[in-house]
């Protein structure tokens, strides 16, 4: 008799998702799917709006990574203006993007994932949260708060607002950096660096205890995709697309992001509002690829900052070829935080960082603009078409997390097949399935409104649709 297990909602992620697991009559997992259950509609309701509104409108896609949308949208608008923005504006956009990556990664690692990593997947759900972490590991909890604060403060000091700031605009940024803000940020670097270095220390020390998760959390061959600099270094703001195989060999390199439609297509599945991008030359669904911190560590030849490069070298020892287990997104996230901190310091010491010329002005000179950047969760594409008056006629977004949709689905299936046998499903098992999703750190929407009382309901259905078992927590 076939049975279906439903995990709804998936907890401690950004957004709303449901997992459906289908058991066969022997109680083994036959299929598992991740369904993204909220509809946003940004690509439609921006039609008719002036293009220069896009950064502010698109930033509202998310409350965790609005800066990424500001940057991708502004870059698309830069193309519509046909401007080359001032170098100082590029430096400033880079800094704010890096700050956001720090705060976003810190949120996932410390607030969302550390309860599992430190308290255990089978810990009492009433304790397996940030408060539980506070009680048992207060130093680590304090580090998490301070590290997230570091990133958010930089955004607030530079852009006057930590969520949905309006400072990144078409043509550059709206105001230059002041010497006072520069000094303020530099003063916070040593503490942030100290926090991430000791976090890396304790995390690497515990890797041995996570071996089962490393083996089973979305650990399979796949391509990896992301931006790299011309020399192949880690890149978050500009650069070109590189695609790498599971063996670590380069499949495609220095692809123009503006030509993304030539090598990325999007499939639509009937059971989820999240599209499934895939690498076109490999077809669907073989063209599955992963993006985000794990992908960036796999595709980059080097990070380009001293501490991060040392960590990257150690990271590459985990596997021959590319590092494949999605559990290692956590490790990759920590390396990226270190890189971001080092890079922010380097950029703040650039001789042009305080220059006053930070914006280029123009009218509509192209009727199409494509802006691409690396968001915390992966490569983000904004594509707009406008009319001669600059009103948006068409928009397409490939959201960072969307790139990982196929891989998340496959990862959930892999974990479910490993952990679920028969009709008895423990709470810890369900948490492990959810933890696979958490490793990807998907930003399915900005509409997480969990209040500590989210109920997880699992329903087992028989082959004829009859409810066999109802499990709640």
């Amino acid at each position: 008799m076939n049975r279906k297990i439903v995990i709804d909602p998936v907890t401690r992620i950004e957004g709303h998702a449901r997992i459906t697991i289908q058991l066969d009559d022997k109680g083994n997992v036959g299929d598992a799917r991740v369904h993204v259950t909220q509809f946003r509609g940004f690509e439609k309701f921006v039609e008719g709006r002036p293009f220069y509104e896009m950064p502010s409108l698109m930033a509202r896609t998310c409350g965790i990574c609005p800066v990424s949308h500001l940057i991708a949208a502004s870059k698309a608008c830069d193309q519509i203006l046909a401007v080359r923005i001032p170098e100082t504006a590029i430096l400033l956009r880079r800094i704010i993007n890096l700050a956001q990556i720090v705060q976003s990664h810190a949120l996932n690692f410390f607030y969302l994932s550390s309860p599992d990593l430190l308290l255990g997947m089978d810990a009492d759900p009433a304790e397996r949260n940030l408060f539980g972490l506070l009680r048992q590991y207060p130093d680590i909890a304090r580090d998490g708060v301070r590290l997230r604060q570091f990133g958010q403060q930089i955004i607030e000091w530079m852009a006057n607002k930590r969520i949905h700031p309006a400072w990144v605009v078409p043509g550059g940024v709206s105001s230059p950096l002041t010497p006072q803000v520069r000094e303020r940020i530099l003063a916070t670097i040593p503490e942030a660096r100290g926090i991430i270095l000791r976090t890396l220390d304790w995390y690497k020390g515990r890797l041995g205890s996570y071996q089962e998760y490393i083996r089973t959390f979305a650990n399979f061959p796949s391509m990896f995709l992301g931006l790299v600099a011309p020399d192949g270094s880690l890149e978050h703001y500009h650069g070109r697309i590189r695609v790498v195989s599971s063996r670590g060999s380069i499949i495609a390199d220095q692809l123009d992001p503006a030509d993304y439609q030539a090598y990325i297509a999007e499939a639509v599945e009937p059971d989820s509002y999240l599209k499934s991008p895939y690498y076109k030359p490999s077809g669907y669904p073989n063209g599955m690829y992963r993006v985000g911190p794990l992908a960036r560590m796999n595709i980059a030849t080097q990070c380009g900052t001293p501490g991060a490069d040392l960590e990257l070298a150690e990271f590459h020892c985990l596997d021959l070829g590319a590092v494949l287990s999605s559990f290692h997104y956590h490790y990759a996230r920590l390396i990226e935080i270190l890189y971001c901190i080092e890079q922010i310091e380097k950029l703040l010491n650039d001789s042009h960082i305080l220059d006053g010329n930070v914006r280029a002005f123009a009218g509509v000179n192209h009727l199409e603009g494509i802006g691409v950047c690396e968001a915390p969760r992966g490569t983000l594409f904004h594509h707009y078409k406008v009319n001669a008056e600059g009103l948006v006629q068409w928009a397409n977004l490939i959201i960072a997390s969307g790139n990982n949709n196929l891989a998340m689905n496959r990862g959930v299936l892999q974990a479910a097949q490993h952990y679920i046998h028969g009709s008895s499903v423990s709470e810890g098992t369900l948490n492990r399935i959810e933890a696979v999703i958490r490793a990807f750190d998907p930003c399915l929407s900005c509409s997480t409104h969990d209040d500590g009382r989210l109920a997880l309901q699992v329903q087992l259905y028989g082959a004829h649709g009859e409810l066999l078992q109802n499990i709640s927590r």
Partner: protein
Amino acid sequence: MEKQILIIGYGNTLRGDDGVGYRAAEMLAENATVCAVAEVLACRMLTPELAEKISRVQRVIFLDADSRLPTGKIEHRELVPDYHINPGLSHHLNPTQLLGFASVLYDKMPAKAEGLFMGATSFDFVDCLSPEVEAGLRVLMGEIEAIICNAA
């Protein structure tokens, strides 16, 4: 020497009366009498990093709108820490959760924690206060000044 009173006014200034706490804090930050003895913060939301500041003062006063009160009415409440916190912490905390956070994380809490909440019913997508709340803001200023003067 660090000031021993912390005033935190918070709210969304793009949602009508929800911004009354933020606006009150902005006005207090210009008030020399208040600033002589209190640190004033205007925040769009309460975030975990505020816990450290709260743990270092003797008294904390929160300012916010309250949809359960009649418009313009001000209620002064003592606050006690709440140790039940949402697992995600990705968006916001309320004052009692923040107090609980400070207590657990830094093992210290202000001797006195209180809130001044103003009744509000208009939370539209506007960046101004309703006339009743705007009028109530002046009364709120007076109450806070009185608290500060009594504390000095």
